[in-house]
């Protein structure tokens, strides 16, 4: 299913939900509880916190459902509630100051190699195909996402994992579309940088193993 098809199905489900159609409640709870849980798990980092946030967010969603005039806005509406539930949860635990990612620090350097300009980055042409290595790559992706500053992480999760559009993400986070684009780019660059370090260290290990 494409992102567009998933979006249409979710909007259709929201229409059925507000119309009180049979089965819509159960389907909505199942689908959006899971979505909010996944989002909260990456935002909070703890299974129990994410369960609590997903539950609090759903309570809020049904409490305010009479205020949802446009079912096509269901996704940003639910994720705005989820984000606020995460923030409430965080306020109860640890306060983390906002961090900024600098574009310059995410830009790789280039050097000369045999008279040709070459970037100082890993070889991305052959990413690991074996299942165990793909799983390791997934672990690196998870860690890279979890380590992003909160303002960047929430944008990357909504855009690239949940498949919200730039406009939907801006609405969910109550920021401009320009802010979403800037933060998404920097978040992706930061994840890319961590993956690059991993690929280079892996290549280094392979070279050392071959030499032994």
């Amino acid at each position: 299913m494409t992102i567009g098809e998933a979006q249409q199905q979710e909007i259709e489900l929201a229409r059925r939900l507000v119309a009180g159609e049979p089965g819509a409640f159960e389907r909505f709870v199942e689908l959006f509880r899971n979505k909010v849980f996944q989002y909260s798990l990456l935002m909070c980092g703890h299974h129990e916190d994410a369960e609590e946030v997903a539950q609090d967010a759903l309570f809020k969603v049904f409490e305010k459902l009479d205020q949802l005039r446009e079912p096509e806005r269901i996704r940003p509406w639910v994720f705005r509630i989820a984000r606020n539930a995460c923030l409430m949860k965080r306020r109860k635990s640890v306060f983390a100051p906002a961090q900024e990612l600098s574009l310059d620090e995410l830009m790789p350097q280039a050097g000369e190699d045999g008279g040709q300009r070459k970037l100082d980055i890993a070889d991305w042409s052959n990413l690991p195909e074996e299942q165990a290595l793909r799983a390791e790559l997934q672990r690196v992706v998870r860690q890279a996402i979890e380590e992003l500053p909160e303002n960047y992480k929430t944008v990357l999760i909504l855009r690239d994992i949940e498949g919200l559009s730039t406009a939907e993400t801006a609405e969910a986070l109550e920021v401009s579309e320009e802010v979403v684009k800037t933060r998404l780019h920097r978040a992706r660059l930061a994840v890319r940088q961590k993956l690059d370090w991993y690929l280079r260290s892996r290549r280094g290990r392979q070279t050392a193993e071959r030499a032994n």
């Binding site: 409640f25 994410a50 759903l58 009479d66 300009r117 992706v141 994992i161 684009k181 994840v191 890319r192």
Partner: protein, 98 residues
């Protein structure tokens, strides 16, 4: 791409800032043309773009994988009651709000 050793330093830097919007097809056609013309003549920027494209693919394919535990019956009942209240409020107000 590399400030200091490349004559088109500022162009590489400007392109670098736009690569996600380029991948997401969110740039106007003239900006895309400009980026594509640059990429043709700049292998380091092209190589970097590919690494970013693969990063985005990996993020899009990533699923946290864990599922929440089963929904507590008391919580489900409370959600259902709130849902029913919301439906009554919608029908009496004719669906006002957001």
């Amino acid at each position: 791409m590399d400030p200091g050793s490349h004559g088109r330093e500022s162009e590489c830097k400007r392109i670098f800032a736009l690569l996600s919007e380029y991948l997401d097809a969110e740039l106007p056609a003239d900006s895309c043309d400009e980026i594509e013309a640059h990429l043709k003549d700049c292998p380091p920027c092209l190589e970097f773009l590919e690494s970013l494209r693969k990063t985005v693919e990996l993020c899009r394919g990533f699923r946290p994988g864990e599922l929440p535990g089963p929904l507590n019956e008391a919580v489900r009942r409370e959600l259902w009651e709130r849902y029913q209240r919301a439906l009554r409020a919608r029908s009496s107000a004719g669906g006002a709000g957001t």
